[in-house]
């Protein structure tokens, strides 16, 4: 009985979480524009989606920025994590504080402070500034994913490699990187999803000309979101779901192989 109640509770909470998403996906197949009325099944919003240059451009901006920002922040963050790990106590604490600040700062303050920077330095806001902003907020998450793995690693294996004649670069590639790889992958994925979903920081660091999906949706929310947006998010949702399942499948496979 108690067991049933527990399950029931979880089902209710999950229902709460998935209700709006289900609504969104169902709406994307609605033939009419109205949000509340069902006017028959149709794929026309999916068709319209593919023909909308505005949405396609926003999609391009969103994905290229997410890809470039996650790659850049993974490189930057992994190097930083290795460096921070090797630091003595005090600089390490200082670096960690610096890393934590952007993470705890409200998005809106991060966005505004970066906007002030770009305006002050007379850098025209747009694609490039949005990219810089994304790298900035992604990197701390990479560091925090990689650091625990570094802590788990044997402290002396790097020194041992050096003693055995490896160059620092070789030791880095052959000793450190392989053992922190799971952390790097987690960090990269986290960075990717974060920048895919970001709205607030993008909103302040871009000009009205360069829109990513979030800022585009934001301007659409003012006049009523078109069902094409629902179609798009339904597609992205399914794509991410498949990605996740694939990653999960692979990781169970590799753990079985071990």
């Amino acid at each position: 009985m108690i067991k049933f109640l527990k399950r029931f509770y979880l089902v209710i909470v999950l229902l709460f979480l998935y209700l709006p998403i289900a609504v969104l996906i169902i709406q994307s197949f609605n033939a009419g524009v109205s949000r509340a009325k069902w006017e028959g099944f149709s794929l026309k919003w999916y068709q319209e989606l593919l023909q909308s240059p505005t949405i396609m451009e926003a999609l391009y901006v969103t994905f290229t920025i997410a890809i470039i920002a996650s790659i850049a922040s993974t490189i930057l963050g992994t190097l930083a994590a290795i460096g921070i790990h090797a630091m003595s106590r005090r600089p390490q604490a200082a670096m960690m504080t610096m890393t934590n600040i952007p993470m705890t700062m409200p998005d809106i303050v991060t966005g505004i402070s970066l906007m002030l920077l770009f305006i002050f330095t007379r850098v025209e806001r747009g694609y490039f500034t949005m990219l810089l902003a994304h790298i900035t907020f992604d990197t701390p998450y990479v560091i925090l994913s990689v650091l625990p793995k570094l802590r788990e690693m044997n402290r002396h294996s790097y020194e041992a490699a050096l003693d055995l004649g490896a160059t620092p670069g070789y030791a880095l590639r052959r000793v450190i990187l392989p053992s922190v790889r799971p952390g790097i992958i987690t960090g990269a994925l986290l960075a990717f999803t974060l920048s895919l979903d970001d709205f607030t920081i993008s909103y302040f660091t871009t000009s009205p000309l360069v829109q990513n999906l979030s800022t585009l949706i934001y301007s659409e929310t003012r006049k009523g979101v078109k069902p094409t947006m629902n179609a798009l998010s339904a597609l992205m949702f399914v794509a991410l779901l498949i990605l996740l399942l694939a990653v999960n499948y692979r990781s169970t496979k590799t753990s079985e192989a071990k």
Binding site: R35, T64, I68, I119, P208, L209, R222
Partner: protein, 346 residues
């Protein structure tokens, strides 16, 4: 590994370079949300070979901030009358070379030398309209003809107000018998108190801007303050709706095309303005967004149905009863402060 990395790097570079490589002859247009026919934009690019970077804003105030902070990002902007007045005063607009805009002769007489741009040096009118009340005829108790319906408490919790400072303060001033451009702080105080009381009485359902029209189509409220074109759009989709310019008078406004001094493609901007003033294009836009056209030739093209629509072409006495907004730059702090009081009243 190295090859993969090199491939990745070149891919990255390509991605960054691509938007740049696509750059050709462009014009950067900054217009209101949902305020142009996409078809007109495509036709412009097709005929002139100039690509349009089309950007949108929601309120004049938001647009001003962007205009000042993203210098050089815009070639054609569509501000309202009183904002144009301020932009001219601040030397932020470039005079238009009217040799490149021959179609500007189509502008109706009463807007050819408007108060906000007395010598018509900087702007070409794009659309005009009024502010009024859009209401659900099946749910009102009596015909609506006064701003008072918004304040009486008769339609408690069923009123959408505009989340736009000048419009909302302006209608409260009008209801109280003041000018919308009053420079009397006591009148502004009175208007603010009226709006605060309206909110505290639970009359207001929401403060919003562009959401109103679709929500009214879905019968989300009984009364809504709306711009004439949005009202017409909603009426076309829901025959129970009707629009009225209250008897106390209201605001008549013009949105015009201007070129900022910082524009990088001034000639393209002039081509764009000229194209949008061409009668058939003005007609296309007007029929798409359903506001009133200031283009005489387009009005003639659109025929009787448009010309006799009282929402879009109100009789002269209604227009005469309405006011244009003047720029009241020195009252900006006062307006912003009072408006914040309204928005935060509980």
């Amino acid at each position: 590994m190295k090859k993969a990395l090199a491939l990745l790097l070149s891919l990255m570079l390509l991605m960054i370079a691509l938007p740049v490589a696509l750059a050709e002859e462009v014009v950067n247009v900054y217009n209101w949300e949902d305020y142009i026919s996409e078809e007109a934009l495509e036709m412009f690019s097709e005929e002139t070979g100039i690509a349009v970077n089309y950007m949108r804003f929601t309120t004049n105030e938001d647009m001003l901030v962007q205009l000042r902070t993203s210098t050089g990002a815009f070639d054609v902007v569509f501000p309202s009358d009183y904002v144009i007045e301020r932009l001219i005063a601040e030397d932020l607009l470039a005079p238009i070379n009217f040799d490149n805009v021959p179609n500007s002769v189509n502008t109706v007489d009463w807007l050819s030398n408007p108060a906000y741009d007395p010598d018509s040096l900087y702007s070409v009118p794009y659309m005009w309209g009024t502010v009024g009340i859009l209401y659900d005829t099946t749910r009102v108790n009596s015909p609506i003809d006064s701003w008072g319906a918004l304040f009486s408490g008769e339609y408690k919790g069923e009123v959408f107000m505009l989340d736009s400072i000048r419009d909302t303060m302006g209608l409260a001033l009008k209801y109280l018998g003041y000018s919308m451009n009053t420079r009397d702080p006591a009148a502004l105080r009175e208007a603010t108190d009226l709006l605060i009381k309206q909110k505290q009485d639970g009359v207001v359902k929401a403060y919003q801007v562009d959401e109103t029209k679709d929500k009214m189509v879905a019968s989300e409220a009984i009364l809504a303050v709306a711009w004439s074109g949005d009202a017409q759009y909603a009426i076309n989709l829901n025959e129970n709706l009707s629009y009225v310019v209250p008897k106390e008078g209201s605001n008549v406004w013009v949105d015009a095309m201007v070129i900022p001094v910082t524009a990088k493609n001034k000639e393209n901007a002039e081509k764009f303005i000229n194209f949008m003033s061409r009668p058939d294009i003005a007609q296309l836009n007007c029929e798409y967004i359903e506001y009133s056209s200031p283009n005489q030739a387009a009005i003639e093209l659109m025929g009787e149905e448009y010309q006799t629509n009282p929402n879009l072409n109100p009789p002269q006495e209604i227009i005469d009863n309405c006011e244009f907004f003047n720029d009241i730059n020195d009252f900006l702090t006062i307006y912003n402060t009072l408006w914040a009081q309204v928005k935060n009243a509980k």
